[in-house]
């Protein structure tokens, strides 16, 4: 074999894309179809494998939410095997999940979302020059500081989990981690520096405590004008800019929400079980549909494949779930158009429906009545939804609101670790059982359902936040949440429909997203562009 020097074009990474097709009538989106263009099939890989295979395989489903995948796959086994999880292990798992989310908040905001705020469409806004100065990719001042600092929280993850991403250090019965005081104090230093520089210094312009005093939309507006530091912070500027350019006026979505919740009160979840899950959560679970709150019950979740490239057409609970792919060309003849399934939830008294998941759904759950003493109880977004309703801005604000809250929790959990106590209790590996594990990834509810028989995985189904949000129409023809949110968006320039990007990105779906816009009357393609076109 010879070695030669050449100019070469390298191999690009291949990944499954999300195609969004919309029709536009008289400058307004009239309908939308979301197509996940690539088959995933992790459920098929896992069938017949060792029950613990999910701990290795599912964190590879996503490069940005690997820790979230690990977290829920560990709880799926904990519930199936009825393990004992020491309080320290719950704290470490909580910390790992929360640092992954804390990384995602600024990275997503600057590197994916805020770039659209510098689109020339907004050039007539008096705040436009300032938006460009802050958010322009690579050169914007806030972009640079926000992106380079976004890495810090997952350094804490790596301290406990050995690496980030794709760690498998959470196991049934606890964590494979033996931290010392050095790791804990380094973690505290990393988080406090990150908080001082980015979260309080750049994003809020005030203390986390001050921001979290905001209980109503009026409080938020008063906060913006309270002093120069808050007014000119990235958060203060973002709110002013949104109101100026109208990001509070479109991207409403289905208006119905699901959160499966995450983070456990360590003393209340030493023996993880499905029935006790809701009560032990800190970041609460819950469903909000047509003005009514109800308790989350995983037995009410089902997946529909009427418009997905799989066999079958009915609704199946994930324990009975099937992932039997068909030839998409054949499926198209039956009106199927996506590799994503359509998760639906049977709301008591209302029936199966699509629900939006993500930070706004978590904020709705956090405002429901009946919080326990250890649980997040926060009225802010109930008030915001009452006053101004959902929109691109509100969805985004919900995501950013979690920064101060989660930072405080992470900081407390680091103090709560008892280095003298255990981090793992060896479980009994039962040869059969059923489990359910779930968490809130940065972008929404993420769950595993496992059925173990004869010491092997009989069935494994993963329902991702992206499936909840980007799933296609169901058997009733009801649009998925992002499809629904796109309808009604005003499109100013059909050759550069930035509004579609803002709506799609406000859900932070973890697929690269290509949008095709068509004229509703003539069917002529108007434009095509890539939504997640940045790091």
């Amino acid at each position: 074999m010879s070695t030669i020097d050449l100019n070469v074009s390298p191999l690009g990474r291949v990944e499954g894309d999300l195609d969004v097709r919309v029709t536009i009538d008289d400058g307004v989106v009239s309908s939308a179809w979301t197509t996940a263009g690539m088959f995933r099939g992790f459920e098929m890989i896992l069938k017949g494998k060792d029950p613990q295979a999910g701990l290795i395989v599912t964190p590879r489903i996503c490069g940005i939410c690997g820790g979230s995948h690990l977290y829920k796959s560990a709880y799926a086994l904990d519930t199936a095997w009825q393990t004992h999880v020491p309080q320290n292990a719950t704290l470490i798992r909580n910390l790992a999940q929360i640092t992954e989310t804390l990384q995602s908040i600024p990275r997503y905001f600057y590197a994916l979302f805020a770039i659209d705020l510098t689109n020339k469409k907004y050039a007539k806004s008096k705040l436009y020059d300032e938006a460009v100065r802050r958010f322009a990719p690579y050169v914007g001042e806030s972009y640079q500081t926000g992106v380079v600092l976004s890495q810090k929280p997952v350094e804490v993850y790596a301290m406990f989990g050995g690496q980030w991403p794709h760690s498998s250090f959470m196991v049934p019965g606890g964590v494979m981690s033996a931290p010392t005081l050095a790791e804990v104090t380094r973690s505290i230093a990393i988080l406090e520096n990150w908080n001082r520089a980015w979260l309080e210094g750049q994003w809020l312009g005030c203390s986390n405590e001050r921001w979290l005093e905001n209980k109503t939309w009026d409080d938020v507006l008063a906060w913006v004008d309270e002093n120069e530091s808050q007014h000119n912070s990235d958060c203060g500027f973002f709110i002013r800019y949104c109101l100026d350019v109208g990001l509070d006026s479109f991207g409403q979505g289905v208006g119905n929400f699901i959160a499966t919740g995450t983070y456990f009160e360590p003393s209340m979840y030493e023996n993880p079980d499905i029935d006790g899950r809701n009560a032990a959560l800190i970041n609460r679970s819950g469903v909000y549909a047509n003005g009514e709150f109800s308790e989350f019950d995983h037995m009410r979740v089902a997946e529909d494949t009427a418009h997905s490239f799989y066999e079958g057409s009915g609704l199946l609970h994930p324990w009975e779930g099937q992932t039997n792919p068909i030839d998409p060309e054949a499926g198209k003849k039956d009106g199927k158009y996506s590799w994503a399934k359509s998760p639906r939830y049977d709301v008591p008294g209302q029936g199966y429906m699509p629900l939006e998941t993500g930070p706004l759904a978590r904020r709705m759950a956090a405002g429901a009545p009946g919080a326990g003493a250890h649980q997040d109880d926060d009225p802010l977004f109930i008030d915001i939804m009452d006053k101004i309703g959902p929109s691109v801005m509100v969805r985004q604000l919900a995501r950013m609101h979690e920064g101060p809250k989660y930072y405080q929790w992470a900081r407390k959990w680091l103090d709560d670790i008892d280095l003298q106590e255990s981090f793992y209790t060896k479980p009994i590996e039962h040869t059969s059982g059923k489990g359910f594990g779930s968490t809130e990834a940065a972008r929404g509810s993420l769950s595993d359902w496992i059925v173990i028989e004869d010491g092997k995985i009989e069935n494994y189904q993963v329902v991702t936040p992206t499936a909840w949000n980007i799933g296609p129409r169901d058997g009733e023809g009801t649009l998925g949440p992002i499809e629904d949110a796109l309808v009604g968006a005003p499109i100013e320039d059909t050759s550069d429909p930035v509004e579609l990007g803002l709506v799609a990105r406000s859900f932070d779906s973890c697929l690269v997203c290509t949008v095709h816009a068509y004229d509703g009357k003539t069917g002529k393609q108007l434009s095509k562009f890539v939504v997640n076109g940045m790091v």
Partner: protein, 185 residues
Amino acid sequence: MSGQHTPPSVEEARRLALDDALSTHPRGQVVVVGCGNILRGDDAVGPTLIRHLWQQGVPDTVTLVDGGTAGMDVAFKMRGARSVILIDAAATGVDAGTIFRVPGEEVEQLPPLQGLHSHQFRWDHALAFAHWLLGDEYPENITVYLIEAGHTTPGADLSKAVEEAMHQVGSMVRNDWETLVGSEP
């Protein structure tokens, strides 16, 4: 009160982001990065080589990085390195297993950052991003090896030609770091 909460300058943020006292990776003089998707046949050659090098042992002055498909995170791992050796798969249409050692001047001609895509992140994008991220701390020497892929079949092993090329590149990489930092641990 408000004066306490002021944003950092870009320089301060960069310093904090790269602060070694707070970082999880020890400062190695040479960082060897293998990029590629281990699920896609010959695209796995970079990460697979990293595992072989790990098993064979490396001196303390060399840090191995399984870059996988991590994209921009690879750039963070280059901090503190004086030299970086990067291994990736290529698809240029020549015989599978052909080894390219990308010339120095080519490595210096980095693509523009605008329009960069997190899901089509190539070795030159990683370097361009690292150049932006690391500023003055960008490594002095960059060596890039590319191995022509035969197939990218999901779940398949490395093809024979690529596996042979991988071992050959392994020897070349060892020679490189011995030249750069010596062979003693």
